[in-house]
Structures are given as C-alpha cells and as structure tokens.
C-alpha cells in the first residue's frame, strides 16, 4: 500500500512538473538599453533579477540577422546578477539583436531577447 502511494504521488508530481512554466531570472535592465540608439559600445551589460551562472548562460549577438562573434561573457566581479558581454570586434553601425538564455543560481532557465541600434 505504501509503495503504491509513493509511486502514485511521484507520478502525479512529475506530471504536474512537466506542464509548468519557468520564468525565474528575468532581465531587469541592460546597457545599451533596449530599442535605444547609441554610439558603438565596447561591451554589453545585462542586469538580471537574480544571480545567473556565467558558465552556463548564453548571450547571442547578431546584426541584421548575421551572428556577431562574442569574445567573453563574465559576471561583473562578484555580482552574479550582472553579466558583461564583450564583442570580439568593435560594433559597427546597424541594428543589433541580443538573445539571452540564462541559467540562474537556483539552476532554473529563462530566456529573452531585445534589440538596440548603433548609430553612425
């Protein structure tokens, strides 16, 4: 009887788990700001609502659909809430899209995207 109950509980809980939505760390602010037009920045700064693991967080940068190589992605010092993304080469004028896939310190995943413009 005990075994059955245990198995049932476990199965029920896994069913519920499968249909849940995950939205843990979200992007609180970013530099350059979303939808802004700026002069070429040397780095992007993404500030999350909770700490994220830089080793497992991915930030993809693209310009007019073409991927822009990123040199490094690190936490800002000991502040795990802020990620610093450095492009491999200075950004040229155009519209950039930033797609992020974050893994928060409580191991949950979340993602999002925004765009900004680099002026002449």
């Amino acid at each position: 009887m005990f075994k059955k109950a245990l198995v049932t509980t476990a199965l029920l809980s896994s069913l519920l788990g499968a249909s849940s939505v995950f939205a843990h760390a979200h992007l609180k602010s970013q530099t350059p700001a979303a939808d802004s037009t700026v002069s070429a920045p040397s780095m992007l700064r993404l500030e999350f609502s909770e700490g994220v693991e830089a080793s497992f967080t991915k930030v993809m940068l693209s310009k007019d659909g073409a991927a822009v190589p990123v040199k490094s992605l690190t936490s800002e010092g000991s502040d795990k809430k802020t990620l610093i993304v450095t492009p491999a080469e200075p950004l040229t004028a155009g519209t950039y899209k930033v797609e992020w896939h974050a893994v928060s310190v409580d191991t949950h995943k979340s993602e999002g995207a925004y765009a900004f413009k680099v002026g002449q």
Binding site: G17, G51, K80, V105, T107
Partner: protein, 286 residues
C-alpha cells in the same frame, strides 16, 4: 528532463528528511536499548542513505544536463567539472554528496550505531539541502537569512516525518514498549516542531512571493502551495485526534497505527509538493 528532476528532488528530500528525523527521535522516544528496533533502524538507514546517494548523484547529472541544455552534458567530465567548480549549485552539492558518501561509509563501518556521528552527519546533509532551490534566490544577508530559515524549516519537517517513521516502526512491535509514554514524548516535541515549521514556512512564502499568500489561488505556485498546506492541515488534524484520545491508545492500537501511517504518507505527499514548488517560479512575473 523536468519530470525526472522533480522525481529526483522528491526522492532525495524524502530520504534525507527521514534519516535525520528517525535518528534525532531515536534517543528521544526510547530510553535505553531496544535491540530489535535498533537493528531494523540500522537496516532502514542503510537503504535510505544509499538511496540518498544515488538520487543525489542523479540530481547532479540532471541539473548538469538541464543547465547545459543537452543530455550528453550529464556524462561529460568537463561540463560536470564546470558545474561542481563554477556554479553555486555545484559548490554546495559537492559537499552535500561528500557528506552523503561519508554517511554511507559510516553505516557500513563498526561505528554505525554511534548516535552523535549519525546525527551530526545527517544534520550537515540536511543543512546542505537548504541553499539549493529557492533558498539561493536572494543574495547578500537576506539570502543567508533565507537559507538559515530553510535550515530550520527542513529540520522541523525532517524531525516530524522521521519521528513518524520511527513511531510506525515502534507501533509494529507494540508489546515491547509502553506506547502511551512514547506517544507523550513524541507529542511534546511535536508541538515545538509544528510551530517551527509553520513559522519558517510562512516566512518562506512571504519572502519568495512578496505577499502573505500568492494569488491567483488555483494556478501554478499558489495551487501547489495550497495543496501542501491542506495536506499539512490534515496531518495536524490527525495528530490532534490522536493526542486527544491518548488515554485509551493501548486499546485501539490498530486505529492508532493506521492514523500514524496515514499522517506519515500525507507528510510524504507534502514533500512531493515541495519538490514541485522548488521548480516553479514563485513571483508573479513582471
């Protein structure tokens, strides 16, 4: 992957809580030796510790796969190394797994019945469960206080559930022990445990959701939380029922046994809901 994670959390939390509680309550409930019970407790502990280790390792592998976004990552040494070395989860979990392995080793060694060692290791094992999940959500002093709150919460829950497990084991051989005295001892400690877990539980809800009670009531986090609270309310009802009828407990051992088992199963159900809560977003997304 997510269902496997929830199942893994559930199994791991349950066995660690049981181990901790059964050992804490052993000296409280029974004075002196009880050879038969101790032998069964040792056997049960070995199983619990082994299941804890297996589910703990599985948890690490699943978390790694989940963080990396690929199943293969779970068996990739460099990714595992990255998780254990560079992530908050990994830094906690490597100690947790080490403690778990030590506990298994202890139970295989001649010192297996050494109560302080058992309780010491089980407490550390329980404490290293606190930072994973939402406990690690906040940083700085608030984060540390939330983790501390979670340690107290888990200790109360573990002692209650493990105590119930021990009580079930005792009630299966009622002749050997004066049941009423044991029940009274359990109940005395029980008041403090229930108070502790209710207070720390409410603090958790308040901190994680920012409100006294999250809404809407019947979706996601709030729904699971509601189910959990109902389970606990029924457990308290059963506990109260048995406490009020304690005077004739020895005449109705069968009912008593059934209700204690039921209370214990409800407790396990509550742990299952927690395993889910740990993976659901508590905040109303902004």
């Amino acid at each position: 992957m997510i269902s496997a994670m929830v199942l893994c959390r559930f199994v791991h939390f349950t066995v660690v809580l049981m181990l901790f509680g059964a050992w804490v309550f052993r000296p409280l409930l029974l004075k002196g030796s009880a050879e038969h019970l101790d032998r069964r407790l040792t056997t049960a502990s070995r199983w619990l510790a082994a299941v804890a280790l297996v589910s703990g390792v599985a948890w690490l592998l699943l978390s790694t796969a989940s963080m990396a976004g690929a199943w293969e990552a779970a068996v990739d040494p460099s990714t595992l190394h990255l998780v254990l070395g560079n992530t908050f989860f990994g830094q906690v979990w490597r100690w947790h797994l080490l403690l778990n392995a030590l506990l298994v080793a202890l139970l295989m060694s001649p010192w297996r019945a050494h109560t302080p060692l058992q309780i010491g290791l089980a407490s550390l094992l329980l404490a290293t469960l606190a930072p994973v999940g939402h406990g690690g959500m906040l940083d700085g002093l608030n984060g540390q206080l939330l983790i501390l709150n979670q340690v107290v919460h888990l200790s109360c829950v573990g002692a209650w559930l493990g105590g119930l497990l021990l009580l079930v084991m005792i009630l299966r051989q009622p002749a050997a022990q004066p049941i009423k005295a044991i029940l009274l001892r359990f109940s005395g400690v029980g008041y403090a445990l229930v108070a502790g877990l209710l207070i720390t539980g409410l603090i958790n809800v308040r901190v994680l959701t920012g409100v006294i009670w999250p809404t809407p009531l019947f979706t996601g986090f709030a729904l699971i939380l509601l189910i959990k609270v109902v389970l606990i309310a029924v457990m308290l009802g059963l506990a109260l029922f048995n406490r009020l009828r304690i005077d004739d407990c020895e005449q109705r051992l069968a009912t008593l046994k059934t209700s204690v088992i039921l209370e214990w199963l409800l407790g396990i159900g509550a742990v299952a809901t927690v395993s889910l809560l740990g993976t659901l977003p508590p905040m109303i997304s902004s």
